[in-house]
Amino acid sequence: MGKIAVKRKSTFIDMTPMVDLAFLLITFFMLTIKFVPPESVEVSMPSSIATTAQPPKNLMTIIISQEGRVFFGVSNPDDRVNILRRMGKEYGYTFTAEQENQFRLLNDVGVDIKTLGQFLDLSPEKRKEVLKTTTGVPIDSTNNQLDKWVIQSRFATNDGLSLVIKADQKTPYTVIREVVNTLKKQKLNRFNLITMQEADPRPGRVETNEKK
């Protein structure tokens, strides 16, 4: 009269394959990921059929937001302090060692040189607040600071930077023209526009990175 004891099955699942898979995927994503340093302003770039990948280093980037605010950045942190000192000399400002250090970490400048010192003293959170309302680097003909930033960057790096322009789809052409004219005055007639890739409509062409 013994009851038949139903054997309790263990609920232990062998998770090894799952772990294998998960780690495989992690490895894949870790290796393919490219961390993009945060920029002061978000832009949505237009797309083109261009297949040349963005050069990885020694970049001088001009970011133009949808509202037409201009930001200027140099990719190599070691050049930044040098450029800042030159800019300080040009406009008659001196920056403290701490400010220079902070500038070294800054991906792009989006404030008037007048307020740059103050801006560098702020905490990262406060800076974000300021960046929401900043008017960007001035580009008017009477006070063209972008011009100076570009010139000083070229001097500081022996003209070793490639220039890229990253603008929002909806940026008015008037601002683009101002920026391009600024560059033209420095005989910078060649530059690169950053775009997102899209399919080539020409028959027989496949979207590849091998073209160039």
Partner: protein, 230 residues
């Protein structure tokens, strides 16, 4: 949730000779899986699939106004595209500006615009750009290639496209039209600003949406406008 290293049942049967039973080491992998998927989620979310590409652009250097020898290009070779607001493109063939009144021929021969309000609202490249502009460029290209002998052009592909931007255009229009140059394999093009006279004409055209628009009237306007400028 400690890792349980231990027997997997089976302890009772083989307890002979006081020999220690061989435990099959089994590790609870749940925390590891948790961590694994956490990291996985992180990388998946931060990964950006589309890599930004760059499109090289060359802008013409500002001309020396004293140099009269420049610009001696046969007007037959020129196609003008004028980019305005709302993603519209207007186009005409010929040089126009040079002789003052020479914007004749086929101004607005067919403004490359389709009245498709949906396309105008959407943020992506308007569909008619592809069909419209590309067709215009190809047709002009073909026409020039056919007439190459007759017109004594030495080049294989004599077409020159002048891209004229107005203030209402946006950056995307510029990238799109430069992209069209690449798609049509058009090597010779120039990115310029639109003439005030051209802007005037387009304004007149848009006022009545092409209805009752008279080229003659606008030509007179251009004549006076361009006359003042030159």
């Amino acid at each position: 949730m400690a890792a349980e290293v231990g027997g997997d049942g089976g302890g009772k049967k083989k307890q002979k000779k006081g020999r220690k039973k061989r435990a099959i080491p089994r590790i609870d992998m749940t925390p590891m899986v948790d961590l694994g998927f956490l990291l996985l989620t992180f990388f998946v979310l931060t990964a950006r699939l589309s890599v930004p590409t760059v499109m090289p652009v060359v802008v013409p250097a500002d001309k020396d106004p004293n140099d009269k020898e420049q610009d001696k290009v046969s007007e037959e070779k020129i196609l003008n595209l004028i980019l305005t607001g709302k993603d519209r493109i207007y186009w005409y063939k010929g040089g126009g500006k040079k002789e003052g009144v020479e914007i004749n021929r086929t101004f607005f021969e067919g403004a490359a615009k389709k009245s498709d309000p949906a396309a105008e609202e959407s943020s992506s490249r308007p569909a008619y750009w592809g069909e419209g502009v590309r067709k215009v460029i190809f047709e002009k290209k073909q026409e020039l290639k056919k007439r190459r002998r007759e017109l004594n052009f030495t080049e294989e592909d004599p077409l020159i496209v002048l891209i004229k931007m107005t203030d209402d255009a946006v950056y995307r229009n510029m990238v799109d039209i430069l992209d069209e140059m690449n798609i049509t394999e058009q090597g010779k093009y120039m990115l310029l600003d639109a003439d005030p006279a051209e802007i005037e004409i387009i304004k007149a055209y848009e006022e009545n949406e092409g209805k009752g628009f008279s080229v003659e009237k606008s030509l007179a306007k251009i004549a006076s406008g361009a006359g003042n400028k030159k």
